[in-house]
């Protein structure tokens, strides 16, 4: 426990304290930031888009997880991978790929004369945000589904005559409360600190958010007051996140008890092969709309020599790819891979640590605390880490790793917490009573159940780190450039074709690297239950029947 607190203090507390220190040193600047005329408008914009994004993304991702949960769904493995694809596209090209796909003069406009209304403005920010964040919800809920102890409860409900909808409403969803809560926290905070989308889609509509203001302030921060202003806004985001997440965390705590199933409207039915096909068709349509078309638009832009040139095969060129690769990519790729692997291991280990502490001491607020830095825009967190540790490890890979770990800790913690919450303590007690050592009980009872969530979390971290740009672009030194930094430096900023080529390459690279673990993740989920034949505790059964 003490060790955990020290870790939280060192990784998150100290950098945050250093940022607060910036405000303390310049109270006038901090006051100017919160009293400036646009401040409350930006807060309102940020909160409304983040809330709407969460409301759309979490049930959406959960629905995708449920639709693809059954092994009988046709093309399930491919679907599972395809749903995760938006995670692989670097955020700085997401907005761009959507305007290319569905905006004026975009893909769908040229093809069938249809554009997405409201793409530029809050609607676009919310819809594209939800689509790109839904994979987080999908991941967490999927891991929750894979680890749950109670498919028997669903079976019991069905056997007792509940139809699919009733079972979903009264058994499955209530049992998924913890994963849904975890997913909501992650998605909400990610939507709070999202920058690339509001910048690309909000600016043309004059719609500013906290993050676009932070960017604007930093762009002019050669004046000290504006630097303080940027840090103030960034810390405001942390406050907003904690205000929302902390009560939510308390609310979702201790939800392990399954709720009582209702006994009304019970019509016997079975999910048929037809239903499975319909589920698959729905998910395929979704994948086509939000993944395939935007990525195709991106690829076309990468292959087209210049904007406005018709993207027909006769005009295709690889020149953009050559531009994108003209930097010192090899060393940077090695740095990024090293960082991604170490960060994945460390973040998951640290997530596990918090989960264990929480499981045995209802450690109030610890989960909220490790999420705090997640709400900081990368630039501000990088400043905090640099202020805290820059004197000693500035310019090394270690400081970049430290920033990644501080930022991504909740990615290791939340998915695991959601699953651990589903595990019955009686099981490890049973193992102990039957003579297993404490470690043996963990290894044989708890860890196998956590495996899908562990892999999922590690993969999330790995993918995020691989195309991370903001923090590393501020923290790198001559010997620690990351892939995104080198590639983005190498091209003329804003060169559409090269940017598109870069993201196409990165997507392909990440896809290549992610396929083996993804396949494994899929396999784990297909397997019915890692530790089988645990008897349903009497108490829970009694609650349901």
């Amino acid at each position: 426990m003490a060790a955990t607190l020290v870790l939280v203090a060192a990784v998150i507390g100290w950098p945050l304290a250093k940022l607060v220190d910036v405000l303390v040193a310049d109270p006038a600047g901090a006051r100017a930031a919160v009293t400036s005329p646009g401040f409350s408008r930006a807060v309102a914009h940020t909160l409304e888009t983040a809330a709407a994004t969460t409301v759309l993304a979490v049930p959406g991702g959960g629905l995708l997880a449920l639709l693809t949960a059954r092994p009988a769904v046709p093309g399930r493995r491919t679907l599972q991978a395809a749903i995760l694809l938006p995670l692989l596209v670097p955020p700085f090209v997401l907005g761009y790929s959507w305007t290319q796909a569905y905006g004026d003069a975009g893909f769908s406009d040229r093809l069938i004369g249809v554009t997405m209304p409201g793409l530029l403005g809050p609607i676009g920010i919310v819809v594209v945000g939800a689509v790109t964040l839904a994979p987080f919800s999908y991941f967490v809920v999927g891991a929750g589904l894979a680890a749950r102890a109670e498919p028997d409860l669903e079976r019991a409900a069905r056997v007792s005559g509940a139809n699919a909808m009733t079972t979903l409403r009264t058994v499955t969803v209530p049992l998924l409360r913890a994963p849904l809560g975890a997913a909501s926290a992650l998605v909400f905070v990610l939507a709070l600190e999202a920058f690339a989308l509001p910048a690309a889609l909000g600016t043309p509509a004059g719609y500013d958010t906290m993050t676009t203001r932070i960017y604007g302030d930093l762009a002019q921060a050669s004046e000290p007051a504006l630097f303080t202003q940027a840090i103030t806004l960034a810390l405001t985001l942390v406050v907003l996140a904690v205000i929302v997440i902390w009560p939510a965390d308390r609310l979702f705590k201790g939800s392990r008890r399954p709720t009582r199933a209702s006994s009304q409207g019970l019509v016997p039915s079975r999910r048929s092969a037809l239903a499975d096909s319909v589920a698959a068709a729905i998910v395929w349509c979704y994948v086509a709309l939000v993944v395939v078309v935007p990525l195709a638009a991106l690829l076309l832009a990468a292959l087209t020599p210049a904007v406005g040139v018709s993207p027909t095969p006769a005009n295709w060129t690889l020149a953009n790819f050559r531009t994108a690769l003209s930097g010192q990519t090899y060393a940077a790729l090695r740095h990024s891979l090293t960082l991604a692997v170490i960060a994945a291991v460390v973040v998951v280990a640290m997530g596990l640590l918090v989960v264990m502490v929480e499981r045995h001491r209802r450690g109030a607020g610890l989960g909220t605390a490790v999420t705090a830095a997640y709400a900081l825009p990368g630039s501000a967190l990088a400043v905090g880490v640099l202020l805290a540790y820059g004197r000693h490890i500035g310019g090394t890979l270690a400081i970049i790793l430290l920033a990644y770990v501080a930022k991504l800790w909740p990615l290791g913690h939340r998915p695991l917490a959601a699953v651990v919450d589903r595990l019955d303590r009686d099981h490890d007690r049973a193992a102990r009573v039957s003579g297993a050592s404490p470690i043996g009980a963990w290894l044989t009872v708890v860890l196998p159940r956590l495996a899908p969530a562990l892999c999922g979390a590690a993969l999330l971290v790995f993918l995020t780190v691989l195309h991370e740009l903001t923090m590393s672009s501020l923290l790198y030194g001559p010997s620690s450039q990351t892939l995104a930094v080198v590639v983005l430096n190498a091209q003329q900023l804003g060169d559409v074709g090269a940017t598109a080529a870069l993201s196409a390459l990165m997507t392909a690279l990440v896809l290549l690297l992610a396929t083996p673990p993804l396949a494994w993740f899929g396999l784990r989920r297909v397997r019915p239950r890692p530790t089988t034949s645990v008897r349903i505790p009497q108490r829970e059964l009694a609650d349901v029947v």
């Binding site: 426990m1 060790a3 020290v6 870790l7 910036v22 004026d104 003069a105 910048a199 600016t203 043309p204 509509a205 004059g206 676009t212 960017y215 930093l218 762009a219 002019q220 921060a221 050669s222 004046e223 210049a306 904007v307 406005g308 040139v309 930097g327 090293t338 960082l339 170490i342 291991v345 460390v346 280990a349 640590l353 264990m356 502490v357 045995h360 630039s379 990088a382 400043v383 640099l386 820059g390 004197r391 090394t396 890979l397 270690a398 790793l401 430290l402 102990r432 963990w442 903001t470 672009s473 501020l474 001559p478 010997s479 620690s480 190498a490 003329q492 900023l493 804003g494 060169d495 074709g497």
Partner: protein, 341 residues
């Protein structure tokens, strides 16, 4: 059980810290090996350059510099303006600026640093050949960006003046970049805001004529090339590169002139390698340095060194940077009342 959890927690914490230390050592090793490699090549001065200028330009200039001064190694930290500002502000708080030379993309940023006392009062010998509006006692323009109009190929009548952005002939068809986002757009605000006959009224008319604000000058080119807008304000290099690659756009040098934004370079006040830093600045501003910049498709600031294509008799205007530095906050607030953001 509880004691077991404590033990396990301690082990996990230990593993985590060990992994981080290992990563630290690993990167430390990389850093030292890079250091020794350089030490082998030369045994003398090393300067640190902080810059937001594009990497190809930086690379070209440094390799030309090293051909003449093989004894001075130039390390580079390159980042977009916002990240560069954050890095400098952070450096200042943890023991002082680590850069010997700053080379940024717009004069306002440099005025900001100068007003904090980060820059040394130094005029490079080569700087004396520059026009007066491109230099101050502590920094000088190493290159120029021209803000011009980009318009759709075949647009009739073709635009000829900045005032065309507010003309009924192009109603709802003009795009401008966001000054809160792009330093170049901020320069345009500086010119129009301070200039008789334009002022913030120019932006009001632009807005009521259906003009749209997009994020960056590059976005203007993209949107015009794709037909979303008919014309817009952008940077000449980018627009000319698009024309060269075959985009269906053309470039106009509007009256009263293209707006010039110079890219200032200066030596820092606390540099421990001032002589080497000064010789670097002097080289960048000298003819061979300027030629290296021109080769990467950028406009040098030294008169007489050929740069990007421009029509005969094309005029250039310049914002009054020191005045704009004083008025910036008010002008930007006024602008944002009109366009939001």
């Amino acid at each position: 059980m509880a004691s077991f959890v404590r033990r396990l927690a301690r082990v996990a914490a230990g593993v985590t810290l060990a992994a981080m230390l290992a990563a630290g050592c690993a990167s430390g090793n990389i850093a030292t090996s890079a250091g020794t490699a350089n030490a082998k090549a030369t045994s003398s001065d090393e300067i640190m350059l902080y810059t937001s200028v594009s990497q190809p330009t930086i690379d070209a200039v440094i390799s030309a510099f090293n051909a003449k001064h093989p004894d001075i190694k130039v390390s580079v930290f390159r980042a977009p303006t916002g990240s560069l500002n954050a890095r400098i502000a952070t450096d200042e708080r943890i023991g002082g600026l680590k850069a010997d030379v700053l080379w940024v993309s717009d004069p306002l940023t440099m005025h900001g640093y100068d007003s904090q006392g980060l820059l040394k009062r130094y005029t490079a010998p080569a700087a004396k050949a520059l026009p007066a509006q491109y230099r101050t006692p502590s920094f000088a323009g190493a290159g120029l960006l021209y803000l011009v109009l980009v318009y759709q190929k075949g647009l009739s009548p073709a635009p000829t003046s900045w005032n065309d952005l507010t003309s009924a002939a192009y109603q709802g068809a003009a795009a401008v970049p966001d000054p809160g986002f792009a330093g170049s757009a901020m320069g345009a605000l500086g010119y129009f805001g301070e200039q008789q006959g334009f002022g913030l009224d120019f932006y009001k008319k632009l807005k009521s004529n259906g003009g749209v604000q997009v994020k960056s000058p590059e976005d203007v080119i993209t949107a015009v090339a794709q037909g979303k807008y008919k014309l817009g304000m952008t940077i000449a290099d980018g627009a000319l590169a698009a024309v060269k690659k075959g985009s269906p756009v053309k470039v106009a040098w509007p009256a009263p002139g293209a707006i010039a934004i110079y890219s200032p370079i200066g030596v820092t006040s606390k540099s421990k390698h001032a002589p080497a830093a000064e010789s670097f600045e002097d080289f960048v501003l000298s003819k061979p340095g300027q030629q290296a910049i021109a080769k990467t498709g950028r406009q040098p600031s030294l008169p007489g060194v050929p740069g990007i294509d421009r029509p005969d008799g094309a005029k250039v205007v310049s914002p009054d940077w020191p005045a704009f530095f004083g008025d910036k906050a008010a002008l930007l607030a006024g602008y944002q009342k009109i366009f939001g953001g």
